[in-house]
Amino acid sequence: MTFVAKPRVHHPRLPVNEIGLTRRDYEGSVSTLCAGCGHDSVSAAIVQATSELSIPPHRFAKVSGIGCSSKTPSYFLNKSHGFNSVHGRMPSVMTGANLANRDLHCIGVSGDGDSASIGLGQFSHIVRRRINMLYIVDNNGTYGLTKGQFSATNDKGSTSKKGVPNLYEPIDLVTMALQLGASFVARSFSGDKKQLIPLIQAGLKHKGMAFIDVISPCVAFNNHSGSTKSYEYIRENSGSAMAADYVANAQEITADYEPGTKEDVNMPDGSVLRLSKLDASYDPHDRVGALSYVMRQQEKGDVVTGLLYVDPEASDCHEIMNTCATPLNALNEAELCPGSDALAAINQSMR
């Protein structure tokens, strides 16, 4: 197998974004995942979301762990650096990358095996550290590359392709993220582009860690009638609590919403996150309420999607640590080395 580059020719009338680039400038190489894989829809959503945001494509840093999901950073944003790192360790590598250059837009892609099993510890701690990044889990409930073992997010009673039921309780990353103090928590479905794209855009604009758990069916191993992560099951059992729309600051807001059901959240760069409640009682700024709502719906077998919690005032790790505005990787001797006079004084203090 070799790397396959997409042909560079494209339609001359392809629309351009504010910085004169087309969607093609945000694409990656040809996917080697199975035809129909939900992960490819997530990659496509990232391409569209990022091109619409008009961020120069080389200003992203993409980091992943290991697994089908972690291959996907090859399939979007070819002009940015990517790092397919170690199984379950995307959060630590992304932490380092973000510390080194706070100006880059960080996208971490992981899977349910990567984040809910081998990397559960790193997942928890990156939530605590509030790294300014978008953290996407392509959640299919199965280990695809090793041929269909259950993952830790697989629901109890859900069956394998051969009909064997899963005997263990699932780990839900959304409720974990809420409980651990994440400042932006969403769940979506790879087949719902309309919902996913604005969530990705809002997540990228959010200061701190934005977590999106994307149910992304595995067509090879977990898309059968006994699965609770199949296209069919999710289409029938998902309900959106909170629809989100990302409105760039340059755009005029024209949409008309029912009074009392919409809310505009101001993002750090002046853009607006427009929320509309589908369930009138839902409050996206109530962490405990969100937890309880998601868990109650889970009891009924329903998968709640949409933006579940956001704290627009959140801080990120650089604010917490009070690091300087200049990216750390751009500092040199003049800023970093205290020099020989300071050293002479230190020597003196050791006498």
């Binding site: 980091v63 940015s80 650096h81 790092f83 360790r89 380092g96 080194a100 690091t323 300087c324 500092l331």
Partner: protein, 617 residues
């Protein structure tokens, strides 16, 4: 020994003694003991300190040993001349460890158990508890000032200049003036008791010297942390583990002091206490991938956890600096004792065909220098650099040459292409060996809108970082990494050789250097003269190979059971096992001059090797 006992008119021995303090962990003895060592240092007398402590916060026995040597022997030697026994639980073992003719200082408020008495040593009883009882009403104060009181008595017993100690008390409690007077009072109580009731001074004494010269006193871990600040490290990610913790804490202390904007409090560094060592090394690798100078500090168990990442960093060619402050073995047992037993684990860490450069500092100065050098080497060589120190060097105050920094020194960021360089490049290939040294050019994320972006993964990629599983491409890449390894051998710190035109040599590294001078001086008296080589890094360069080649055989001294350095020399240079004779110690204390002397001398005797001047009895 009371005033009435005679001193047998022994000749006074100056500036040559070992004092060991036996205390209870957490009893506040550390500062008094530290002051004792520092006072001698300030009198210009070379001292070396060793903490022998348990993995415990309060209650278990702890010892503090001070080696005093006018000749500058800073390694450990066997035997204790003065035992300050303040822990009743360890009395039996403490009495037993005193050298014949030595002194046993104890709290004589309670009489010493007659069963513990030894006729060949001198008892020095000071009624510390009862002295404290009359002087201080507060229970806690009685406990704390007891330590200062025995310090005062010791000052009188071995002739430490009293002004030096009182001066230290004054500066130690600057700003807490209320503490100065009672501390000085406690010192005086001890001194006065020794003056009035004991035969003081003893025939073991200290006196002012100029043997310290301009040297400073510092532990290796603090030196490593400071060196990392000077070397431009901007990201330190770590997880607490004895005996490495003070590397990260040293970095944080000096970075806060020297790298923080005084008005805004903004820091030009990031200091992250990670959730575990897996995360610590992941953060370092992510930061270095994105162009920041990053390091971590850990000990053996942490190295084990980091090995998967080290393999990735080797194949993906990402710089990283990892300090391993070695201790004795696994999680429980002797985590607070010293060894050199991570050598193979560090050199060959990880899966697949991996090898890593290892630096081997011997002194705090070298810890400082190697900290900055390792950051340069990691960037230049685009690979993880492991620095192997140990508890002996890392956590004990050692004499060191003062640190130096050349203000004209520039950080070596290695081969990095910026936007202008990329514009001038026709086609960028991350793993293309443009210069023939096995090292490609890298780019930082976000550098150029069109050029220089690449996807980092393990091995399945070609010179342009494009995905491939071609066997030919894989082998070609591995051959380039071999070529890079040869470049690395020329770049790491060279060994130090002392040539005396002998047929037999001795090879050592790290803290084994501390007792070497003394061991070799003693062997010389026995008619054994050896050439020396002190290794400062792995991979071995030609000097190492030549040194071993030209000698009949070479003693390889190391502080582990399995002769790991010997194994490494045999594996990497193809030496015959007979050519390398092991001298091993792995008891968890630092290797002593006595051990080295004895094992080498025994080998000479067993092999009937000729001595230069005949064995002296």
């Amino acid at each position: 020994m009371t005033k009435n006992q005679s001193n047998k008119a022994d000749a006074v021995r100056y500036n040559d003694l070992v004092v060991r303090f036996a205390n209870v962990n957490g009893s506040g003895s550390a500062s008094a003991n530290g002051m004792f060592a520092k006072a001698l240092f300030r009198m210009g007398v070379p001292v070396a300190t060793r903490n022998i402590f348990p993995s415990n916060i309060q209650g278990l026995p702890t010892w503090f040993e001070v080696r005093v040597s006018e000749q500058g022997y800073l390694g450990r030697r066997e035997g204790v001349d003065i035992m300050v026994a303040m822990n009743a639980e360890t009395f039996a073992e403490d009495v037993a460890s005193v050298s014949p003719g030595g002194y046993f200082v104890y709290d004589s408020t309670k009489p010493l158990d007659p069963k513990l008495r030894r006729s060949d040593i001198n008892e020095v009883g000071i009624p510390l508890a009862s002295l404290m009882m009359t002087e201080f009403s507060d229970l806690k104060q009685r406990g704390l000032f007891k330590n200062v009181t025995y310090l005062g008595a010791l000052a009188e017993l071995i002739n430490i200049e009293f002004d030096v100690i009182t001066g230290m008390v004054a500066s130690a409690y600057k700003g807490k003036d209320a503490l100065i007077a009672p501390n000085i009072r406690a010192l005086e109580i001890g001194r006065n008791y020794a003056r009035d009731y004991l035969t003081a001074p003893l025939p073991l004494q200290v006196r002012r010297s100029d043997a310290v010269g301009d040297r400073i006193m510092i532990d290796g871990n603090t030196a490593a942390g400071l060196g990392s600040v000077y070397g431009g490290a901007t990201v330190c990610a770590w997880y607490p583990i004895t005996p490495s913790t003070s590397v990260a804490e040293g970095y944080e202390k000096y970075a806060n002091q020297l790298r923080m904007d005084k008005t805004t409090g903004e820091k030009n560094f990031a200091f992250v206490q990670a959730e575990d060592e897996l995360s610590a090394i992941g953060i370092v690798i992510g930061a270095a991938w994105n162009g920041a100078r990053a390091f971590t500090a850990t000990s053996g168990p942490g190295i084990s956890l980091m090995t998967e990442f080290l393999g990735l960093a080797y194949f993906a060619e990402i710089p990283a600096v990892i300090w391993d402050i070695q201790r004795s073995g696994p999680s429980t047992g002797m985590p607070t004792r010293t060894q050199q037993s991570d050598l193979l684990a560090a050199a060959y860490a990880s899966h697949g065909d991996t090898k890593h450069p290892v630096l081997l500092p011997s002194t705090p100065k070298e810890c400082f220098d190697f900290a900055a050098d390792a950051l340069d080497l990691a960037d230049r060589l685009q690979t993880p650099i492991l620095v192997l120190s140990d508890l002996e060097l890392g956590m004990n105050d050692n004499l060191s040459d003062p640190f130096e920094w050349d203000d004209s020194r520039r950080y070596d960021r290695g081969k990095v292409l910026d936007a202008a360089a990329l514009d001038a490049t026709e086609r960028f290939g991350r793993y293309l060996d443009v210069d023939g040294d096995g090292i490609g050019y890298r780019t930082y994320p976000g550098t150029h809108p069109e050029k220089g972006a690449f996807f980092t993964r393990g091995t399945s990629r070609d010179e342009y970082a494009a995905y491939t599983e071609s066997p030919e491409v894989y082998e070609e890449n591995m051959r380039r990494l071999e070529l890079k390894w040869r470049t690395i051998a020329k770049a790491v710190p060279a060994p130090e050789v002392v040539n005396r035109d002998q047929r037999i040599g001795v090879l050592y590294f790290g803290t084994t250097a501390l007792p070497m001078t003394e061991a070799l001086d003693r062997l010389r008296v026995e008619g054994i003269e050896l050439d020396e080589i002190r290794l400062r890094a792995f991979p071995f360069n030609q000097t190492v190979v030549d040194f071993i080649d030209k000698h009949d055989f070479v003693f390889v001294i190391e502080q582990n059971r399995d002769a790991q350095m010997k194994t490494l020399l045999m594996a990497e240079c193809g030496f015959d096992a007979k050519k390398l004779v092991s001298v091993l110690y792995y008891g968890g204390l630092s290797i002593s001059a006595d051990t080295i002397q004895e094992q080498i001398s025994d080998h000479f005797t067993a092999q009937k090797l000729p001595r230069l001047t005949g064995v002296q009895s």
